[in-house]
């Protein structure tokens, strides 16, 4: 077990990727705090008892919530080895169609949420990074922080911000033994992705959802989407002691999608 004896907190823990990470961390021997808006989340009918991790109520846009969540960890354990900032939202619009509220909400969750949770976790992570051990903070960037998907302007911008924040935090907190990395997923089969496909009806050229999904899969060198477990595999490695020298990097996990140039049909 790679994370035996470690304490982790995962935000967005009831989302598609967050839930896979929490379950995996528990299997790897970690004590896991599953932080999200509600105990059961909105994407499944599972009861609280069936869901992994110790639930902590956390609206990442609320500083009071961040402080309360970390106070709980401090009281229970006294330190935090691993923080996963997985909470995120996606607005599927161009900037002209995006309202100021939507823009602010995107930044509040994706950027300010990463900031607030990290800010209040750092003292606990510093406490974990003693005697040569490192603590691991993992943000969620995106493939969209590098190259743009159409009609996702605010999302692309927030993920670019997370990438820059990741590097800045790695510089600032590396000397304290805290490693900071970002995972940059491509197309991962989650409720967020399904929402992207069923979305606002703006695209698809009349194609069925199935045809659309197959067309997107076919563009990938691996000819498939990733799964939340694919993400959890890399997150687990980055959280583990094997990754003790890995910091400040943006880890793209996209089935090779961004390695290729536009696939023109010649």
């Amino acid at each position: 077990m790679r994370l035996q004896g470690k304490t982790a907190l995962v935000t967005g823990a009831r989302g598609g990727i967050g839930r896979a990470i929490v379950a995996r961390f528990e299997r790897e021997g970690a004590r896991v705090y599953a932080a999200d808006l509600t105990e059961t989340g909105s994407i499944s009918n599972a009861s609280a008892a069936e869901l992994p991790g110790n639930f902590v109520k956390l609206d990442v846009t609320s500083e009071a919530d961040a402080i309360n969540a970390m106070q709980r960890v401090r009281a229970d354990v006294g330190h935090l080895d691993i923080l996963i900032n997985a909470a995120g939202i996606e607005i599927e619009k161009t900037i002209e169609d995006t309202t100021l509220d939507e823009w602010n909400r995107s930044f509040a969750v994706n950027v300010t949420g990463t900031f607030l949770t990290s800010k209040h976790a750092l003292p606990l992570m510093r406490a974990a990074a003693q005697n040569g051990a490192t603590a691991s903070l993992i943000n969620f960037g995106s493939y969209d922080g590098f190259i743009a998907d159409p009609g996702l302007a605010a999302y692309c911008a927030t993920k670019g911000a997370v990438h820059a924040l990741t590097r800045a935090m790695a510089c600032d907190h590396g000397p304290e033994g805290i490693r900071v990395n970002a995972i940059c997923p491509g197309y991962i089969d989650t409720p967020m992705l399904q929402s992207f496909f069923t979305g606002d009806g703006s695209g698809g050229g009349g194609k069925s959802i199935d045809d659309l999904q197959q067309a997107v899969r076919d563009v990938h060198p691996m000819r498939s989407y990733g799964t939340p477990d694919d993400i959890a595999n890399l997150v687990t490695w980055l959280a583990s002691d094997e990754a003790r020298y890995a910091s400040g990097q943006l880890w793209i996990l996209d089935g090779g999608l961004s390695a290729q140039v536009q696939q023109m049909k010649l």
Binding site: I147, A148, A215, L257, Q263, M264, L266
Partner: protein
């Protein structure tokens, strides 16, 4: 007054020819070179030498010819070959031909002009490619050779400043004879072109003059503080996700 001389490799057609025309009009003396004899339509004001950059002796001959004309303050390494194969299909002869022109040729030319250029100052522009960072399928050695070009560009900038500036350009799809041949081979050339256009935010394919414009700027005093950089000229193509256009 002695005219500054610009060497342009692979000057016979496409981007090389557009750079030749532009630097002539910007007042440079131009020495074009290529493996073939001087093209019939090559501008009368420009000089030509037939030599291969892949051979050190060829590169030295080009540099000597240029230095006899005047101070060589500009080198544009444009010569390159493209072989459409995967690693598994590539032969040793393919390697020698492609790496000879695209990698060793750039190295040979830089090495040949740097001693003089370091004394009186100058600007080297290497033509790399967007393929250096994102892979075109079945173009393995070409893609890798262009990554070499961008890497060598940074090293020359670091090692040979302050007198020499060295930058690279990463063109996307530029409509040259090579690209037009590709579209002609499509099952439905018109549809292929429509598809290609949809992947370009600026709504058109690149022209050789688009690259020549960037070369002209990079070798001008406007770019006096620019060195070791790579500039993408691709109509926005690589800024977008490589999904089928119009999918969403």
């Amino acid at each position: 007054m002695t005219q500054d001389i610009a060497i342009i490799t692979g000057a016979a057609g496409g981007i090389g020819r557009a750079v030749t025309d532009r630097l002539l009009s910007d007042g440079f003396g131009v020495l074009g070179c290529g493996r073939s004899p001087r093209p019939a339509d090559f501008p009368g004001a420009a000089h030509w030498v037939q030599a291969s950059v892949a051979a050190p002796a060829g590169a030295a001959q080009i540099a000597r010819t240029a230095q006899d004309l005047g101070p060589v303050t500009v080198l544009v390494n444009n010569a390159g070959v493209q072989i459409e194969k995967t690693v598994a299909d590539t032969t040793d002869a393919d390697w020698d031909l492609l790496m000879g022109a695209n990698c060793r040729g750039v190295f040979n030319m830089c090495r040949a002009v740097l001693p003089d250029m370091s004394r009186y100052g100058g600007s080297i522009v290497n033509i790399g490619s967007i393929s250096a960072t994102v892979a075109d399928p079945s173009m393995a050695l070409y893609n890798a050779s262009k990554a070499f070009v961008h890497g060598l560009t940074r090293s020359i900038a670091v090692d040979h400043g302050p007198n020499v500036r060295c930058n690279a350009i990463a063109p996307g799809w530029i409509m040259t004879d090579m690209a037009e041949d590709g579209f002609a081979l499509a099952d439905d050339p018109a549809k292929a072109m429509q598809d290609a256009l949809a992947r370009h935010p600026v709504g058109r394919m690149g022209m050789p003059t688009d690259v020549a414009n960037m070369v002209a700027w990079l070798v001008s005093d406007q770019a006096a503080y620019v060195s070791g950089a790579s500039f993408t000229v691709d109509g926005g193509m690589t800024a977008a996700s490589p999904l089928n256009p119009g999918l969403f």
